[in-house]
Subunit: 136 residues, 2 copies
């Protein structure tokens, strides 16, 4: 099957520097972080404002891509689960999904709260949160 | 900045064959569709069941990647908006995000409802819906 190329649009700047530090969920104590975008995508950001809730997609560049099942939360006493039923970073295409609140926008830099991504993580996309994501 | 390669894990089989037909949101009348996975990722699917709500990530392979602003809903009378404040398929890295309900699982094929992706769209990933996606 044909493959496709992701060209990151920016990087995360965060105090989280390794996977041992990263919380399992954004609201379990993830810090604030900066999204530092490339100048070439500035026009795409122009309607984002402080107070917005957005979904940030990242490329989890330190993940293992040859993993199809994991012990939930890394706990070896729990039975393995297929990765598509988990949010493990280890999976064939390690795209991270992060719902965050925008705290500030300064040109091509955006400060967000509750981002569980590691420092240096490439940013793939940013999307608004829609009702269809949350209501069913 | 370094680029990354997505190797699709499967494809969408849908009655939607062009963008003119596709509804803007999954719950505005999107049909049921099949997710047809590659046999190599079958182990990753083993805990998905009928009744699950999942997020399907796709690669919107018919999108334009050089677009940074769009008229909302394609309506030229509305002012342009930066793509990162919209769900337009046209954006630098056209990853689609679809919240769907699983209707049936048959080996490497999974039937889902309310999928707005076009026939043939490559599948990037499948993730469970978590509370943090919906509650804030």
């Amino acid at each position: 099957m044909e493959s496709y190329t992701i060209e990151p649009i920016g990087r995360v700047e965060s105090p989280l520097i390794d996977r041992g530090q990263a919380p399992r969920q954004g609201d379990e104590g993830a810090p604030e972080a900066w999204l530092v975008f490339e100048e070439r995508v500035l026009e795409g950001l122009r309607d984002l404002r402080e107070g917005d809730e957005v979904i940030v997609l990242t490329w989890l560049d330190r993940a293992s891509r040859d993993v199809l099942s994991v012990h939930p939360r890394g706990d070896a006493s729990r039975p393995r689960q297929g990765v598509f039923s988990t949010r493990s970073p280890d999976r064939p295409n390690p795209v991270g999904l992060h719902r965050v609140g925008v705290v500030a926008v300064e040109g091509a830099r955006m400060r967000v709260r509750d981002l569980e991504a590691l420092d240096g993580t490439p940013i793939v996309d940013v999307k608004p949160v829609l009702d269809r994501d949350t209501e069913r």
